[in-house]
Amino acid sequence: MTINYKLMKEPISETVTCIKKTQSGTTAILMIPLLEGNTDYQEYLAWVAEGNEPEPADE
């Protein structure tokens, strides 16, 4: 299973407001808020802590 995270930059504020998650084997797209209580965000932080890097936001 391949997991991919991409930072999403909101065009007005030009700040990252969520993280887009996709993974092989499923057609689901997740838009994850940067909130500590959100368990998807916690999984993302754990994924980063393992040495992984998200795809940068589009410029």
Binding site: M1, M8, E10, P11, I12, T17, C18, K20, T22, T27, A28, I29, L30, M31, I32, P33, L35, G37, N38, T39, D40, Y41
Partner: protein, 469 residues
Amino acid sequence: MSRARDNANLSPTIPDARMPNLTGDVTTVEGAVATTIANDAVDSQHYAAGSIDGEHIANDAVDSQHYAAGSIDNEHLADDAVGTDELANDVVINTSGAITTTGTATFSGDLVPSTPLSHRNMIINGAMQICQRATTTAPTPKGADDNGYYMADRWRLQSGGTTPARYNLIQVNSGLAGLPKAHQVDCTTTASPPGSDDYIILTQRIEGFNLQQVEFGYPTAKPITLSFWAKGTAGTYVVELYDGYNSLAACQQFTVTTSWQRFEATFPARTSGGVVNDASNGLEVNFWLLAGAAFGGGTYAANTWRTHTNINRAVGISNSGAGVAESTSHEFFFTGVQLELGSNATPFEHRSYGDELARCQRYYWRLVDKSESHPVGDGHYYWSDQIRGTIRFPVTMRDGPTIEQSSVSDNWRIYRNGDQDRFEDFTLRAASRYGLSWYCNSNVSGTAGHAGHVESTDGTGYLAFNAEL
């Protein structure tokens, strides 16, 4: 004269049926008569019915010193002999046993129970009625590395290790009166024997806010009782309470047959290790269906809080830990899950469907479920190539949720200015527990300032909001 001779002479001098003459003629001196009347000498044949009544017994003459413990029992009391007139106010029935009646109990005063009469069940969707995501995972069974929520609301599959085992999770008709739905785990790929670090668990994570009544960590801590119905291919499994904050766990084995049984397990009060009081994971109820040696190779201690050690978590699962994964013909069913205060399992607490759904929606809300032209809300063109909108949740969610959606081209559209504009997904701008704002700046074209309403197109996609634990 010896006392024996007194007794021998006295008894014959009292003729039968002459006891009424004793009234007023015999002066009883404390201790004197008691030693001169043989046991059973004065029985119902020696006094007329009704002759020994309230007029002949001084107040308080017969007290606990004059009858043996237990001598006044149901056989010696007529029906209704002890009524409210015979009982003092505020009488206390002092018993440590159970009180059972086949009649109706009526209280004119307040009923003050030690455990709540309503809102008892700390489990949400214990009856497996709510399935917002899907009622089956078929044709794509789940297994290793599938950690998440796939079928019944609030029931999370936790799976790990290298196991090839796969299962379909299915909502089925149970055939149980009052609990019409059940959660089935149907093995499609075996893992027997399992790898050491393999595990399959069905879990409900309980929010800390909803656990404060257990009073763990205080001297007044209360025991809690888990009850559930289960059946399946005959075998032994383990149910566990796991407190990650305090690194404590307690477990109980249970053995199912092909017939439904109700299982009960009481876990002791815990005066140390308080329950976290926030919206995070306060306690997990884990049904272990497969456990490799790393989780089942230790020692078993029923219903005992122990420091969490993986090797002790699921000891005793059948088929060397393979459990339901031993054969593709194996299956496991459960429903009616209830966790409540106290040492006794009460009948399953039925809540209304709407109430149960709202409780589930605090954690997951599916707004559009593969239905055509399903409304999402209003939107507007902020720029000519960007639309924006907001969505309010039906209940306050546990935390700001993730937007979960299917990746389907042109799955959404906005009707504006006499036409429609199709787009693929919603990107999160900001989320709170109450609602969120979204935008889309991909493949949209319109006039800044125009507004419209947003809906699904062909009914193949879905849109949901996930704040699960």
